[in-house]
Amino acid sequence: MQHFPNKLSALGRTSRTRIGPSGAWLCLAACAVACARQSPSPAPTRAEVLRARLDLARSDAFHLVLDPDRGRLELRLRGALLRDHRVLAITRPARRIAFFRVRDDLSWVSGVHDHGRLVPERPTDRYEVEVHPGDPGSPRPEARVPPPPEEAIPAPPIWLIQFEDGLDLEVVSASAPQEPPDRWESWKQALGFSPFHGTRLRLVLDDADAAVLYRSLPPDVRLLIAPSD
């Protein structure tokens, strides 16, 4: 019985048999090299974090302080705690190649992030009226009873606070429906065929808490990610 119709030598057979495993090993080695790239950024010192907190507290800007260790997101102004939100989970996106996680540069975590804005924007319903005093025919403002804030500004289940430097804080309501990931896009991003947006933190908040934060987040908010001690 002839198993090799073409006249391959034993050496050729051996080489061919090894093509697959060799290729697999090469791929794994490449992945290991890619994953081994370490973040070059040094960790900030406690004094630096304290200085950043102090600078924020001295400014007139509304700012958020996210303490990932304690799961707290605080809204502060001039040293006063205005509101704090319990964060149920904090995650960030990471690329994975051949089951190995790529170590991304996380230097964006440090420092103060400025000009946070809501996406989608909060709807504003401004009622405008022009009155000509003394003219009985002039329109008067209607005695309108506006809906309560929960109805006037419905909060989406997932929304973002986008900062000037590219950081996105994605706020997700705990009961928000989980959409299946776009596997093809995810694969392309992991392998670098499409841009990977790694500067994103996903915060899961209680539904009511997420909605309240969406409705009341002041414009141009700043953010510091730091442990609170």
Binding site: F4, R16, T17, G20, P21, G23, A24, C27, S41, A43, P44, T45, R46, A47, L54, A57, R58, P68, L77, G79, A80, L81, L82, R83, D84, T91, R92, P93, A94, I97, A98, F99, F100, L106, V109, S110, D125, Y127, V129, V131, H132, P133, D135, P136, S138, P141, P146, P147, P148, P149, A152, I153, S186, A190, R202, V212, R215, S216, A226, P227
Partner: protein, 241 residues
């Protein structure tokens, strides 16, 4: 009746069958190896399948739990007195005693002390309405301002000195005489003046509390207003966001 010794039973069986078992294993291995050798394409095919599996299931963007990944703030060699001074400065910036926080979009007022909420109240903040006076070209936007304010004055049974917009809104011209601007009872039992005409005061329309209906002031219900008035002093900070 004695319990059977499992160990000795197993050993007896093993001694009896180990030769045959070894032969069987060798035979199966040889056959398997021969079968694989005759099908040389199996190895590359398996590798391709492995690569596809790795690419499909082991490659992609995943959500991972937060970790500092070596970026947690570390103690440094900074001057201890400098750190202490910064900590003290941070504490000094925080309000002392009771303070008031107003969430103007959600129409909530909080009376706080430190991190504790002493009282939560439903309030009403600015409607955001835009009023234009076509005669003089003036425009008013009825928003509640954001920022830090201080209680400048406290008043019991306050009297409202109606500003121009209150007349324009009614389609009237503002009166020349100040006495015609005075209105009693509209502001409720107490008022806390924050400056620039903004106040925390009461209302005749408590059913509208919780909705954004005011001209920029903060309206409170009777009981809450009394509690806030009693807790606040002149100089108490009011944070509106």
């Amino acid at each position: 009746m004695t319990r059977p010794d499992i160990r000795s039973t197993v050993m007896t069986l093993w001694n009896r069958w180990r030769g045959r078992a070894r032969d069987l294993i060798v035979m199966v291995a040889r056959r398997a190896f021969g079968w694989i050798r005759r099908r040389w394409w199996l190895a590359p095919a398996a590798a391709v399948v492995a690569i596809i599996v790795v690419a499909a299931y082991g490659t992609g963007v995943v959500e991972v739990p937060w970790s500092w990944a070596g970026l947690a703030p570390v103690p440094d060699q900074a001057d201890a007195s400098e750190v202490e001074a910064m900590t003290r400065a941070l504490e000094d910036l925080a309000p002392r005693g009771a303070y008031i926080v107003v969430d103007q979009t959600n129409n909530r007022l909080y009376l706080k002390e430190g991190d504790r909420v002493l009282r939560e109240a439903v309030c009403s903040a600015g409607s955001g309405m835009v009023l234009r006076d076509s005669e003089k070209g003036r425009v008013w936007v009825f928003d509640t301002p954001r920022g830090v304010f201080r209680v400048q004055k406290k008043a019991r049974n306050p009297v409202w000195k109606k500003p121009d917009w209150a007349f324009i809104e009614e389609g009237k011209r503002p009166p020349a005489r100040a006495s015609e601007r005075i209105e009693v009872g509209t502001l409720g039992e107490y008022a806390l003046y924050l400056g620039d005409g903004y106040m925390i005061h009461g209302t005749l329309y408590e059913r509208l509390l919780g909705r954004s209906v005011t001209h920029g002031c903060i309206r409170l219900g009777k009981e809450d207003l009394r509690a806030v008035h009693d807790a606040a002093e002149v100089g108490t900070e009011v944070y509106i966001f």
